[in-house]
Subunit: 151 residues, 2 copies
């Protein structure tokens, strides 16, 4: 559980090492993304960034996201709304459960499912490279306890 600053910092260090220049715009974008606990799309990110620095364009947000994705620093997810959403790669792999009513995204991880997927692929003659698993659901009414998996 590293601090926001540390997270942003490690980002910067990694990018510098990859020969990527650290500009004012990129620094701001990285800060905002690092602090975000959600899965923002390009537009959301753009708005959040604008709040700190009015001289950043949407193009730059898109470009930065692409660069970060190529470097493996972030991950891009496309849920059913068709828009790309971004999140840090510095956490362990996980899948997503999307609340149909609110759009809230909950992260989870299941070893069993991970393993089953590999087995299924193997059975079909394939080597699993990656997968996409999204659960879409509504909060249970009875004995509601929908406070797990923060964020």
């Amino acid at each position: 559980m590293q601090s926001k600053n540390a997270r942003t910092l490690s980002f910067e260090t990694a990018l510098r090492a990859a020969g990527i220049r650290m500009t004012r715009q990129r620094r701001t974008i990285l800060e905002v993304l690092a602090e975000s606990e959600a899965h923002p799309d390009a537009n959301q990110l753009f708005r959040d960034v604008l709040a700190r620095d009015t001289s950043i364009s949407l193009s730059t947000v898109y470009r930065t996201m692409r660069i970060l994705e190529e470097r493996g620093a972030i991950q891009r997810h496309i849920f059913d709304d068709g828009r790309a959403r971004f999140e840090h790669s510095d956490r362990e792999h996980h899948d997503h459960l999307i609340d149909i009513e609110t759009g809230r995204v909950i992260e989870f991880r299941s070893e069993k499912i991970e393993q089953l997927q590999a087995e299924i692929a193997a059975e079909l003659g394939y080597e699993l490279v990656r997968h996409r698993l999204e659960l879409y659901g509504v909060p249970k009414k009875s004995g509601a306890r929908a406070s797990r998996g923060r964020k």
Copy 2:
């Protein structure tokens, strides 16, 4: 395993019952989709349809797909290329494995995974409404047996 005609016919009957007019264009589109063993996107479908009837527009293909989807007659899938692909709903539920090298789509079904997903959702306080599971892989080299799961 019903014949192509029967499949198209049941489609028509269902649509009529739902108050949807059976036009020449819709009939052709339905026929082509019913006979298709693949997961065509709008453009592919459009081309296939054009081969039988030159007076059908891409708009109509899109509109028809939307209507059919709303009625639950077909399912829409969006894999990593971002385009929508369509398939009949008259088969049992299944997930997809996509061959990264060829783009081939293989269908599979795993009760264990289905069940695990529901369990995970429940644990997080949600009732599972639907899910999306896609495996992306490459054919195994050793003792290749990648001829399973036709289509």
